[in-house]
Symmetry: C2
Subunit: 209 residues, 2 copies
DNA sequence: GCGCGTATCGGTCTCAGGACCGATGCGCGG
DNA sequence: CCGCGCATCGGTCCTGAGACCGATACGCGC
């Protein structure tokens, strides 16, 4: 039996969620909270398997409550359910330890599927949130680097922390050649030092393992 | 009318998708492809609004086909639909430009919702894929840097590309002090040059990567 | 053929970066 | 009180980095 805690400042929303969750076999709402502080307190006294958490709540917002609950019990799964689909919420929530992020206008059937998924350790985000998360992850198309293939190789090695001499050895060319390429990169990317090259490489997604 | 291209090496799957898509108002399958190369060719002759793409295909796999189609037409939306839910696929697909990633056992209703979402610019991933993407995103603060608060400030500025002199001006201290902090950072983080510091900062998520 | 871009190489020169030496003041805990 | 860590500052010394100068060779299109 998955023990669910519902945290929302609106009693109607809580009741609605409770009905929905209780209708799912294997799930049961064992507690409710109207504030973030209450949610933390309830979670502390009786650890939930899953928390349905609103973001906007008095005393302590849902993000901070999520952070504390997850800090106290890393096994806890938190599914943020909110009216808004704002970036700061999503990223903050994920960093705080939330497992999922859904909008309140999500159809009940999908919400149930999400609850199941989150309870089993998977994650679900609303479409917009997923898109932005992906964009953050592959924020490549930001600026496409207009450099030659060889320069790209050199840039990657620079971004890995190799010195010019080390790059020369790696590519089987002389130090002079590497310096030429680096200078060309500095010019093309508008960088002053190789540090800027490293930053550009990370921003462009050329590296990042 | 959203023009959809279905790419899968199995005719039955293609037929199934075609029926499903055509049943959605506003969507129509205008072409099919049995290989990645065919998909690229069809997309080149008649640009699709949306592509349903299998990963495992002869000649050219779905990832590479996605890369070429997206490179040729950045407006193209590609939804990867595959039997497997492997990491390399997901990350490769996203980097290649895919907008979504779903499993073939996804219920038709959810698949339709996904198609709509992708067509409208949003994204959808399978639960497992979303979880791993989130883990990648928030795996930053994994390695905690054992440095002082002041050193952290200096590190961030170094990672932003500032020279020691610029950092000194920013923090209202002398060049000597900055050099001391930088040296301390180099020692603590096991770095040889400030480039390594930048890398460490990005890996640790101290700066937006 | 000629121009152009790319990749390769060599030299000189200046300077920021970093090592290594020293120092002071301050807060904090044994 | 005394030791310790942190932040601050000053000096010397050496080296890699990068600018700037030059060059050759190759492939490509006009």
């Amino acid at each position: 039996m998955i023990k669910v805690l519902v945290a929302d400042d609106q009693p109607l929303i809580r009741a609605s969620f409770r009905r929905l969750i209780d209708s799912v076999p294997g799930f049961q709402v064992y507690g409710e909270a109207a504030t973030g502080a209450q949610a933390v307190a309830v979670a502390a006294s009786e650890p939930p398997d899953l928390v349905l958490m609103d973001v906007r709540m008095p005393e302590l917002d849902g993000i901070e409550a999520t952070r504390r609950i997850c800090a106290a019990d890393p096994r806890a799964r938190v599914l943020i359910v909110t009216t808004f689909d704002l970036d700061e919420y999503v990223y903050g929530a994920l960093r705080a330890g939330a497992t999922g992020f859904l909008l309140k206008d999500t159809p009940p059937a999908e919400l149930i599927r999400s609850v199941r998924a989150v309870a089993s350790g998977d994650s679900l985000l609303g479409p917009g949130a997923t898109r932005r998360l992906i964009e953050r992850y592959v924020s490549r198309p930001a600026r496409r680097l207009d450099i030659t293939e060889r320069e790209r190789e050199v840039l990657v090695l620079v971004a890995r922390g190799l010195s010019n001499a080390e790059i020369a050895q790696t590519l089987y060319v002389t130090l002079s050649t590497v310096k030429t390429h680096v200078s060309s990169l500095l010019l093309k990317l508008g960088a002053r030092t190789r540090v800027h090259l490293v930053i550009a490489a990370y921003e462009a997604g050329l590296v990042q393992g």
